[in-house]
């Protein structure tokens, strides 16, 4: 018997919060990798990926639709609409893990986006403390996420797929408070 695997987009089946104070939307499907590499090979790794690896803590760098998010001192989350060609890294010590099936992303946007996230995330999301381009692993309620501010009122939220219904449901519920 053949069983068909279905890929459900994030937010599938979720009742969206009313109004436009907080808007939840899925991000397009993308290839995702976790790259760990020492400083000596970071330039080569960035060239293979097609975009620079940011070396400042908790910052993201974009090149077209490609994004490299600093997660740790030798660790990046790479997001790309197509599969990059990493063969140039063949002789270079590194760890490259395809996490495209593990996690997916949504955007949380709108004038009360930060307030909605702050119902479950303890970080200071004021623009002075968490400016556009900042990214980090953190938590929403009981789940770990990657949070990336892509615009003053827009956040990219990555979560593991099995946790996404919880994250989206939590944020949708929290957003109702700001929909009046």
């Amino acid at each position: 018997m053949v069983e068909t695997a279905l890929r459900r987009p994030p937010l599938a089946g979720l009742v969206p919060p009313p109004g436009d104070a907080v808007v939840l939307a899925p991000v397009p499907p993308a290839a995702r990798f976790i790259l760990r590499v020492r400083p000596a090979a970071q330039t080569a790794a960035g060239e293979a990926f097609g975009g620079p690896l940011p070396t400042i803590a908790c910052r993201a760098a974009t090149e077209g639709a490609r994004a490299a998010l600093w997660l740790g001192p030798d660790e990046w989350l790479l997001i790309s609409p197509d599969a990059p060609d990493f063969t140039a890294l063949a002789g270079v010590p590194h760890s490259l893990v395809d996490v495209g099936h593990r996690q997916a992303g949504i955007t949380v946007s709108g004038p009360r986006a930060a307030a909605a996230l702050n119902t479950g995330c303890p970080l200071d999301l004021d623009e002075a403390a968490f400016p556009v381009g900042m990214c980090t692993r953190t938590v929403v309620a009981k789940t770990q996420i990657v949070l990336w501010r892509t615009a003053p009122e827009t956040f990219h939220v990555e979560a593991w797929r099995s946790f996404l219904p919880y994250v989206c449901g939590y944020l949708a519920e929290a957003s109702r408070e700001f929909s009046g």
Binding site: A57, C58, L71, G72, P73, E75, P122, L123, T136, R137, T138, V139, Q144
Partner: protein, 97 residues
């Protein structure tokens, strides 16, 4: 909320961190040459001070890295944080109020 200064990410809320026990405990190079008492002491005996304590923390919901902290066990005040591999900073104990 208690803020802990991750050596990589800066000040972050305590909820992002996980405690990792006492720091600077070197694993013996040759365990099979040790007596049961010495091995048990390595495994279980800790200083358990009242006052400043060097301990491991991990920024689990952040950069994911282990680092060390000197914390006052009486006040829960974080005196210093530093990267794994660096020596324990020479600090005079903070007086307990």
């Amino acid at each position: 909320m208690l803020l802990i200064a991750c050596p990589y990410c800066g000040e972050r809320p305590e909820i992002e961190f996980a405690y990792g026990g006492e720091a600077h405990i070197a694993r013996p190079a040759d365990p099979s040459a040790m007596s049961d008492e010495e091995w048990a002491a390595f495994l279980y005996a800790r200083t358990n001070p009242k006052g400043t304590h060097a301990e491991r923390w991990r920024h689990t919901n952040g950069c994911g890295r282990f680092f060390n902290a000197v914390r006052d066990t009486v006040t829960d005040f974080f005196v210093a944080t530093y990267k794994t591999g660096e020596p324990r900073p020479d600090l005079t104990p903070r007086s307990v109020v």
